[in-house]
């Protein structure tokens, strides 16, 4: 009975946002696999730490143990369970990546919109800035900033990761805004006297959303890689269970790569990172298809 009373528009909306994407994902096996992997890690990050307790006390008698029933992924240099550390670390990894992507998107959208809407001198200057940000490789910049400013929590970490990463999204937003600016519905909105605020939020943003969404996943992926890289070099000493830190300890400080029976300890964070990134790549492909109807086979 309820179904018949739902207005047609809303049904259309539901169909577009839930049913169609679902169909697309079902057809594209890789995207489906990607989604499942991401959901797996999401679960791990949210519920995992409640399910698997983390005991950070050192127990040197148990160090570098190979996988066993008690410790499915072995133990680290301090005798601590690797699996527990991976599970707890997922929360850090995902939250930092999410924050980095969030900040990046905010900056990119702001810069892109302003440049596109204002035009003229503002646009010229902002374009130069975007150009500069794009020509200099971001990783060394992040390294320097991470070295000068102490990174103490996930938010600062996310901020550092986003400082040099917004360039390509800003460029995309800007060109989208430029092309939309000329279109009739903007003209119409203007003649109707609707303010800039309205134009930005009700007309422009919805059209820019697809780029932002796809870019979000990619930025998160990049942030994961960069964050682990930064930690691997020892620049971010605030979370010992974060996979990057685990890798840092394993390879650089404890020399675990030279101990064949500690392989699980070394390989676990690497495998976790690879799996998460792979999930991201596959899912991003599916997301691209959902938001870009032209790509659907």
């Amino acid at each position: 009975m309820a179904v018949t009373t739902i207005p047609a528009e809303f049904r259309g909306f539901l169909r577009r946002s839930l049913y169609e994407p679902f169909l697309i994902l079902k057809k594209d096996k890789r995207a489906l696999a990607g989604l499942l992997i991401l959901l797996f890690f999401l679960l791990m990050a949210t519920i995992g730490p409640e399910v698997i307790p983390l005991d950070m006390r050192t127990n040197f008698a148990e160090r570098f143990k190979p996988p066993s029933r008690a410790h499915p992924l072995g133990t680290d240099y301090g005798g601590r369970d690797v699996l527990a550390m991976i599970v707890h670390g997922s929360r850090d990894v995902l939250s930092v990546a999410f924050l980095a992507a969030l900040f990046t998107s905010l900056i990119a959208v702001a810069v892109g919109m302003i440049a596109g809407l204002k035009g003229g001198m503002t646009d010229a200057i902002l374009s130069l800035v975007i150009n500069a940000v794009l020509s200099v490789p971001s990783f060394p910049v992040m390294l320097i900033i991470g070295s000068v400013f102490k990174i103490t929590n996930a938010i600062t970490f996310g901020a550092v990761l986003s400082i040099w990463s917004w360039g390509s999204l800003a460029r995309a937003v800007r060109s989208q805004v430029l092309s939309l600016k000329e279109r009739e519905f903007i003209e119409a909105a203007r003649t109707l006297g609707l303010g800039t605020f309205h134009i930005v939020f009700r007309e422009l943003l919805p059209n820019v959303m697809p780029y932002i969404a796809i870019n979000f996943i990619d930025t998160m992926r990049g942030a994961i890689g960069a964050s682990v890289g930064l930690m691997f070099l020892g620049l971010v000493p605030f979370s010992a269970t974060n996979w990057g830190m685990m890798l840092n300890f394993a390879v650089r400080q404890a020399g675990a790569i030279y101990l064949p029976y500690a392989m699980a300890y070394v390989l676990s964070p690497m495998a976790a990172i690879m799996l998460l990134e792979l999930g991201g790549v596959f899912f991003a492909h599916g997301l691209d298809e959902i938001l870009n109807p032209r790509l659907r086979a």
Binding site: S135, V136, P137, V141, S147, V148, L247, I273
Partner: protein, 329 residues
């Protein structure tokens, strides 16, 4: 010509912006780092704390008594003279460090770029030419895999497998310490052995994406009329594949070359650290972990400027290769 000048202008402007940013960032160096250096100097040279601190600050190029603007001007004029600053841990000028480290990085990076681009382009051409071979799904799968894996993890895996476990390759250094540098076969062999894994790491990581890019471009070209026209003219298949498809398909990839170089340089810090390979990236990493801001700043400026100029060169190169393009503003 005007357009080229404009591009050069933008490049210089970008470098200028970077220089300024770096100047201000380094000024923000936390005081405790400088204090730590000062304490270090105190011990080594037995001077007073104030003297030590002043010396540290001067090594930064930082005369605290001067107003900021004068410091800035001093810094810029130093740069223009080629003075990139001094390293604290090594107690020599950054230029000296560069002279020692740069050849190794350039060697590894250029070989890697050539190899990965070359292999990738050939694979891509083959993939596009023979539509239904086993090559396509294999390379595509390989590409997703390496695309998802960060480059230092690929490097780590290679290190673990080949250096640690199989002992086929050495664990660190640019050449065996027991061998004397020179044009001897022994030295060259040692250099190659030590460079093999870093080069392999870069190449594994990037070859597949070049292949996919080339394939995409080549498939587009194959649909063009002139390919069919070439066949109608009775040209040999090989000639069509290389000169008609290949030469046209490769053009868009040339711009990516510069971007790729940029990301390779960016990644060099981690990869050289993994392999303990004494190139610019490794020294940069050392400077970072040991808080050697002088070295950090100098190396970073050098890296950033080279990338910017490399981009510029690639742009110009592209306009030469494709007769249809006139450089646009």
């Amino acid at each position: 010509m005007l357009v080229i000048l404009r591009r050069i202008g933008i490049a210089l402007f970008t470098i200028f912006v970077i220089v300024t940013l770096t100047f201000f960032i380094v000024r923000k160096t936390p005081g405790d780092v400088m204090q730590a250096w000062a304490m270090d100097l105190l011990d080594t040279y037995s001077m007073t704390y104030e003297d030590a601190l002043a010396m540290v600050k001067s090594w930064y190029g930082y005369n605290p008594n001067q107003p900021m603007l004068q410091q800035y001007i001093a810094y810029i004029s130093g740069l223009l003279k080629g003075d990139l600053g001094k390293s604290f841990i090594y107690k020599v000028s950054v230029n000296k460090v560069l002279i020692r480290a740069l050849p190794w990085t350039v060697f590894v990076l250029s070989v890697s770029l050539l190899l990965s681009f070359g292999i990738g382009v050939m694979l891509g051409m083959a993939m596009a030419w023979k539509r239904k071979s086993i090559l396509d799904p294999l390379v595509t799968a390989y590409a997703s895999f390496t695309g998802a894996t960060p480059d230092y993890i690929t490097a780590l895996i290679l290190l673990i497998i080949f250096a640690v476990n199989l002992r086929l390759f050495p664990l660190k250094g640019a050449y065996d310490a027991t061998v004397n540098p020179g044009f001897t076969w022994e030295f060259i062999k040692s250099v190659l052995k030590h460079a093999a894994l870093p080069i392999a790491a870069y190449t594994f990581e990037h070859a597949a994406s070049w292949a996919l890019a080339m394939k995409g471009s080549a498939v587009g070209v194959l649909g063009e009329d002139y390919i069919m026209a070439a066949r109608a003219r009775g040209l040999k298949e090989r000639r069509i594949m290389i000169h008609y498809m290949g030469r046209n398909a490769i053009l868009p990839l040339v711009t990516s070359l510069a971007i790729s170089m940029g990301s390779m340089v960016g990644g060099s810090t981690l990869i050289e650290t993994v392999f303990s390979y004494p190139g610019v990236g490794w020294f940069f990493g050392e400077a970072l972990t040991k808080r050697d801001f002088g070295l950090m700043q100098g190396l970073f400026l050098f890296l950033a400027s080279s990338i910017i100029f490399a981009n510029l060169a690639a742009d110009i190169l592209y306009s030469i290769l494709d007769p249809r393009i006139k450089l646009e503003g």
